[in-house]
Symmetry: C2
Subunit: 256 residues, 2 copies
Amino acid sequence: MRYARVALAGRPVWGRVGEKDIELLAHSPLDGRPDVVGSVPVDGAHWLPPVIPPVFYAVGMNYPRHIAHAGAATPERPEAGYRANNALTGHRSPIVRPADVEGRFEAEPELVAVIGRTLRHATRRQAQDAVFGWTIGNDVSARTWQHQDRSFWRSKNSDTFKPMGPWIETDVDALAATTTLRVNGEVRARFATGDMVFDPFDHIVAITRYSTLHPGDVLWMGAESACALTPGDTVDIEIDGIGVLSNPVHLEGNPS
Amino acid sequence: MRYARVALAGRPVWGRVGEKDIELLAHSPLDGRPDVVGSVPVDGAHWLPPVIPPVFYAVGMNYPRHIAHAGAATPERPEAGYRANNALTGHRSPIVRPADVEGRFEAEPELVAVIGRTLRHATRRQAQDAVFGWTIGNDVSARTWQHQDRSFWRSKNSDTFKPMGPWIETDVDALAATTTLRVNGEVRARFATGDMVFDPFDHIVAITRYSTLHPGDVLWMGAESACALTPGDTVDIEIDGIGVLSNPVHLEGNPS
């Protein structure tokens, strides 16, 4: 199943995405099987982030080639940081580059696990069962700020810096997939989605040793590579079996 | 006014706190003036965190004496990081020290600003008008993890490490107040709440240059000093004009 959130008359509605139509749902599928209450065409849908997480976890260095390229040490244990919900935006909505960004402004293509259960002290098997489905994230980053600031507040959490979507796919072996990053249709990176130092279940076991995970929490899994974005570009991230997350890049004050 | 959230039959209900009774409210006061739908006594109330924030901002080094004591550089501009909602707990609920914490386990008494409006590109005056009220936070920290981990995930965001409350006070000049930290009734720290490098409005202006603030977002303002906590202790943080946030400290696996 593919579950999405779309805007209807300015309000978020959950939907189940088919070939041509989105069946509208009475409530979130995270709260049990919902009734179908209507439908809208897929074409022209206004896609929202497929979930607003209670906690937004994000893993940093997690792909061997990324770590080697950065000259960083390989993490010895799973550790996640956090991102902020204000930065979330949906499929096809613009990534807005603030006017005062200098230096590299980049996309990072990431697999996202969506948690479906309340979970504490999870075994690996419980961690596997607790993932409701998978979506795609773009961890847009302003590198000069990332290196000069004490936290990632504006480098990774400015409004629109966290596109997520287009939907949550519940039936996919995401760790066997391939991630492809394209800018204006041209392939800029391609890597094995599951080639991670610690996989999502390792992280869920580690997190739940100390913290309760809740339905709707998301875990962004890091990227193997990044590529530059320029206003006017369109950036697509494809994970086969999930879909394509596509966003245009605008310059602040210059909606195009 | 003092606005709180209490648990009734296991569900959160907003209330307006008086001398002896809590008037129960039809909805959050952040969504407009609510009707009164009942009342419960203050005595015996089960206090919840007074708000669950869409984004949980926290300032680090922000008091000159703390910075001098840490031998750190004074921040040149306002910068906030993030904490995680799973860690929130209410007034009188236990802070649970995980069994494998080693080294210093400490309380940090903090003023918390609660945002009441949607806000972007705020002036200082707009920032002042956007604060709905003030509450108290205890930024409980496991120092060995804080220094050895890449992020603050477990050092500051394990379950129960973020007591907040007891309520939101809307009518107080919080920056003119005094913060007092007591353990088992004994004063361990006392400082001028407003003696900050950058005050809440400086931070709101800075954050909203890049990020939208939403009603219910919280901004924890940092602490001047910390003190050790041991299982069996009760830690109280008082900010005059707001109230007292009190929490017992338990050891994981050893309730009470």
